[in-house]
Subunit: 234 residues, 4 copies
């Protein structure tokens, strides 16, 4: 795990939800920071590109981009440069989210760029096989997200616990020190606890927090369950 991040880690993907765009992105990040301060559980946020700067300025918790392109500085109109999100305040980036899937050579290149620029790479993978392939590329974090569960409210830790345990076993075999998160369908504190008990070091959540009536309460419950799960003593 990169020094700048502790585990267990709750990472909130803001996607392109209006509830987490612009001013509301900052407000949501502030709620996440509040939970972090109150519980000491690590909470990170991944707002849209245009919101990274404002969010990073407003809060002290880690801010991630949702994607960067496999490019270096130059003639790449409309693309996302690692240097750009870094200077805006991001400490890392999601890579290959199931809603923004990439070519294998692009994933390889992005992980290299992230490493070189000092950005934490969180590579998403759909299944144990893909997770293992990703692990050989040595990203900082692998996030397992079966795409068929995203947004369903059915947590992978409950619906497919073997996907989680298989993945952890396989990826650790090729890259023992990688951090593993699990995502898709996480919406309650018990889902977080279950994910940690299966051996992950945190969760990647989106609608379960962003679309919640009270995101602060949800995140607080997540953090409290994470503490109970015993990975962290406050």
């Amino acid at each position: 795990m990169p020094e700048k991040l502790q585990t267990p880690l709750i990472m909130v993907n803001f996607k392109t939800y209006l509830e987490a765009t612009g001013r509301k992105a900052v407000e949501l990040a502030e709620k996440a920071e509040k939970v972090n301060k109150e519980t000491n559980v690590a909470v990170a946020v991944a707002p849209q590109f245009s919101d990274i700067a404002a969010v990073a300025k407003a809060v002290e918790i880690p801010v991630f981009a949702q994607h960067i392109d496999p490019i270096t500085a130059g003639s790449h109109t409309g693309h996302v440069l690692a240097d750009s999100v870094k200077e805006a305040g991001a400490v890392g980036t999601l890579v290959n989210h199931s809603e923004r899937q990439l070519k294998l050579s692009e994933i390889n290149k992005i992980i290299e760029i992230a490493r070189e620029k000092g950005l934490v790479s969180v590579v998403c993978a759909n299944n144990p096989q893909i997770s293992t392939a990703v692990a050989t590329l040595k990203p900082d974090i692998i996030a397992i997200e079966p795409p068929e569960l995203i947004g369903t409210g059915i947590p992978v830790s409950k619906a497919k616990p073997e996907v989680v345990t298989d993945t952890i076993r396989l990826v650790r075999k090729v890259y023992p020190t990688v951090t593993v998160l699990c995502g898709a369908g996480i919406s309650r504190g018990e889902d977080v606890a279950a994910a940690l008990k299966l051996g992950t070091q945190g969760v990647l959540v989106a609608s379960g927090v962003v679309k919640a009536k009270n995101p602060y309460n949800v995140l607080l419950e997540f953090a409290q369950e994470a503490i109970k799960a015993g990975e962290l003593k406050t």
Copy 2:
């Protein structure tokens, strides 16, 4: 032409040049604003997504995104939502730049989204045929950029004047009120004057300004030549 923009217009595409990333994006935009204030010629800037907010806060000239995705709010990790760049301060967006080419159905959708959200659409096109196809979709602005000239320092207005005049004639036939810019290879004041004399209403420039030793001087020369070309009385 949208009310918020006057012509002739000098639009500066920051691409993903390091010379126009982060703090330097703001500085370059301030130089563009200075030229606008001194000459009264319209100058717009298109920084990277992560820089839109800071640039828009720093200057009063129009700020554009370099791209938006054909999506509405929702589950679109790593994509660019119109609402997001708008709230960050963009008044419009480039679409289909030759370095970020799009499917026809995506261009159609993005123009619709831009119209609905009150963003100015600047659709790039490589040749007269594609420009005409784009014109039927009624974007606010069409920017003609033969990709083989981009970054060469050879202006389309000189190398291929007939591409410019053909395009203007053809696009005006299907959409008489569309604004036409021309780009690719613009690096000197005389290139801007030539572009305006051929009937365009401005230029789309990138490396000619961003990579110049003194971008302020180049933009000032552009603006002065634009004035001489008689389209604007200060």
Copy 3:
């Protein structure tokens, strides 16, 4: 309309249905040919790439590719060269089907290549706006297919007749001699008749024929209704 094709035209897209793959592609094409011989109504087929040669050898009706790539001969592993499908016996190609959508510049290039190689271009378009944009590129045929109706059995001619009539009016304005087909949801003879009455010159069908219990019967009914619709006297 290209000389080699008469109207009304019934074009059958084999997609990648197993019912129309390999030996079964040839059998289905033979049924289409039988209907053509018995009714004199033009029937064309668009099998998969690997089946073009065998189908074109087996039948005398026009055979189309489902796609070609915007490339000329060279280093393009895994792509589809116009010369290749032509030598295999195709007389034309579908372009930009909603299941294989293309960049605007690619559509432009493919239409040019098809023209140069003597292949009939049948460009698919989702709505009147896109159809009009396509028409400016002067393909031989435009096929209107609202993607939301594909495979539903609800014909566009019934569900959205105004889409058809609007499209015909708009595309004829920019390219008066273009042939217009309509597709999506065509499964009964009356759908064909309705399409022709709205002013199209034929239909593009897929599952309605390929997945039918008796494709010959369905095609025969289509042809008979086309005749009744008065566009063709046997």
Copy 4:
């Protein structure tokens, strides 16, 4: 190695070269077969989709597709179905060639489909890292092709021997029984010998054979050098 293929293997990628399209694809495949019959060295060919059937009918050496899509039978207009190339006579397929790069999840899916359908998967990879990631997905064959050497006439076995040996070492660690080919820049018999001596089990060639004045002579030299390299006794 799949039973149906022996090593060392010389695989000829026809790309979309006119010299290997249509009738000429068959003629070139016949030359390849002649070399196989005379030397007993395995030679395989990968023609374009439309030529697979004719080539597979004309020769007895293994025929490969250059690509298949990650789809099963259904509504996938313009895509390449595994069943289709198989029924046409292909025994396998290239996957992820540097000219047809794929998303990681697509590579995973295509390897699964190939396995299920009994097709040999030959997955191309640009560097040792990507090769290793691919190896975890257990394809039948991995072909290492540094894209910067493709078509140069500079063989990877000479320019970057460490890329070859590194790759073999790394991929065998995660998947000991995988067959490794090397490609890019192979144009002379000595390149083939060098590739085999570095530990590969064959080569993937394209322009070196297809664009040669006398492809038969080139292939014969390849085969003879392969024999000398001692991997095969005739």
